[in-house]
């Protein structure tokens, strides 16, 4: 992993960049001095890297790895992990079991690499006993995961990192700030008279061009759905959001959903839940009284 940060001055603010969670990360800071901007950028990068290291399922030296390799033994977790497990459980309950951090096991047969390989039904079915939050035992501070199952905070980790990073920065500065980790954004209030932040939204059909400019004063945006992660077979497009109950991708879901909410975590969960509702995504979003953008 590259541990580099870059700082550039723009018109009235500083823009810091680094790489974390497989995404380009940007911090916009309305401070005057390069030294202040650099200090904030280091705080932001450290927090993002801390969360990545702690919750990534790709690392072999963290708690998530120990849980996933606990062979059914209870694992004692720290407070922050406990809060995330509580949150994951609440999302699972609120979504009637559609939002499930144990569904990552299905990646063993589903590879959303833009290709056309569809696994056979028996292989999917064989994995289903290892998917489902109802099988875990979560009794703070002990988390017990049956052998063969896995947890993955990927569905909320990046959005959580965005919110945490902004909170960390706001503890040390009153300056206007915007945190953008690969399109998941949380903006703090700008300086008086500075107006709104302008954010470009990507068109999933043309991933590298901005689809529109969004003005935001304060709040968060998160996008679920990935223009790049899909399978195409016999003219049918399979998006990468899985239904944990069937083991198959959700059908007829929008390609991506962007939701605006007070926090990036909430926006991200709402966007993911919308995709999990498939063709009813928009109906679901209308019921939430949130601002949203669909890309079909």
């Amino acid at each position: 992993m590259t541990r580099l940060t870059r700082l550039e001055e723009a018109d009235g603010y500083w823009q810091g960049r680094f790489q974390a969670m497989a995404s380009p990360c940007e911090i916009f800071m309305e401070v005057d001095e390069a030294s202040s901007a650099n200090r904030l950028l280091q705080i932001a990068a450290d927090e993002a890297w801390r969360i990545e290291k702690k919750f990534s399922r790709y690392k072999k030296d963290n708690l998530v790895y120990r849980i996933n390799n606990s062979s059914g033994a209870p694992a004692k977790v720290d407070d922050e992990t406990a809060h995330l497990l509580d949150f994951a459980q609440q999302c699972w309950e609120l979504s009637d079991g559609l939002f499930d951090i144990t569904s990552g096991v299905l990646r063993r047969v589903w590879r959303f690499d833009g290709g056309s390989h569809i696994p056979d039904e028996a292989a999917v079915k064989a994995l289903l006993p290892y998917v489902g939050w109802q099988h875990v035992n979560w009794s703070r501070p002990f988390f017990t995961l049956p052998q063969g199952m896995e947890i993955d905070f990927g569905g909320i980790g990046k959005e959580y990192a965005v919110d945490r990073t902004l909170l960390c920065l706001q503890e040390v500065t009153d300056a206007g700030l915007l945190v953008n980790f690969g399109g998941d954004i949380h903006a703090g209030r700008r300086k008086k008279d500075a107006g709104a932040w302008s954010i470009g939204i990507e068109n999933p059909n043309q991933p590298d061009s901005a689809n529109g400019i969004l003005k935001i004063h304060q709040g968060a945006l998160a996008t679920s759905g990935d223009a790049r992660r899909f399978l195409l077979r016999d003219g049918k497009r399979y998006g990468h959001v899985m239904n944990p109950k069937t083991g198959w991708p959700i059908e007829n879901a929008p390609r991506s959903v962007t939701v605006a909410a007070d926090t990036c975590t909430e926006a991200g969960v709402l966007a993911t839940l919308a995709l999990l509702h498939g063709e009813d995504a928009e109906t679901f979003l209308k019921g939430q009284a949130v601002q949203y953008w669909l890309n079909d």
Partner: protein, 428 residues
Amino acid sequence: MQLKDKSKKIRRSLTAATCSLLGISTTDTPAEEGDWEFDSAVLYYSEVDRVSAIEPVITAKREFSDEKSLNLKLVFDALTGASANGATPSDQPQTFTKPSGEGSYTASANETPLDDTFKDFRMAFSSQWDQPLNRDYKASLGGNFSTEYDYLSLSVNGSLSRDFNKRNTTLSVGISLAHDTISPDGDLPVGFSSMVIDTGQAGFEDDFDATREGSEDTKTTLDLIFGLTQVIDQHTVMQLSYSISDSSGYLTDPFKILSVVGSDGRPVDYRYEKRPDSRNKQGLYWQTKHHFSKDILDISYRFFWDDWDITSHTLDLRYRWMLGGQQYLEPHFRYYSQSEADFYRRFLVDGDVLPDYASADYRLGELTGITLGLKYGFKLANEQELSMRLEYYLQSGDSPDGNAPGILSDMELFPDVEAIILQFNYAF
């Protein structure tokens, strides 16, 4: 319809779950133990024609988990200039021996005699540790060390406070014990001995030495303070305290003298002052702070009395006026008035029986002081704060001097003292 109702419920619950996740987890981050907070200041104090001081101060505070905190403070003081030596002015130039006995200084005719050999450097360091003992009790322990060329002060203090009434009421008790040592250049003068002036006489050094007793002496002070802090409402907090202080040991100022004047008001002798060797001080203090929607009013009053017969009143008013953009202006008004000590004498009269104690130190006389000040501060990015303070201080002595003999009736025996205080402060 059912879906819509259900969806609404998700949003509210999800918002609550998210707040819980982010809200609580913020206190669980590794950055829980705070960084050092620094506060630096430079104070410049200048009395018109008299003492000036430049005083850099740096304080550092670190908060630990569980509301524990450590405060460190380092002060440097550089004092230069002249200070009234206690003698009365005269219509002739007057010559005085320096406190060290080495050389002399002269006051012109009709001028208040000032000792211009006054030069000192002080360094003080203090540390304070605060921590809660349990839910209701908090304790604090501290130590101070202060040193000057001819002065050393050491003290320790401790306090205990208890919260009542959902933390709206706090009772506290504090104790402090200080031990000071003074060792002036030229030793300590014998109280009431006559100042020997070097006029070229052969036996000056022996004569000077005869006015000296011991190279150092000490003073011990015990302070007790009892306090009550009460939250009145969400915008107002009030504090009341009673303090009692007992000092014993060498309380005299070895650099101060009194003029012994004849019936014409001219000096015939100068005697070193002599003060009692104990002093008991008591004080009552009341302070109220009120937060308006933005501005803050801070008002306090202190009543002080001691067994030297000094009573004083101090009224202090500050109003922090919040301007836009993280800036504020804070006007300050302070009024101070004190009565004189029972042994205060502006001068001694030749031929009168010597009192038990006497001092002509203007700080023990009847006086009134007024301070007018203005502070301007603003917050920079990253919680840094810059402020500057400008104050004007005017002190008027007004002891009754109706029966000043001879030429003294035409002299300014209680000159005003004016001072300008300028302070720059930078917190980071």
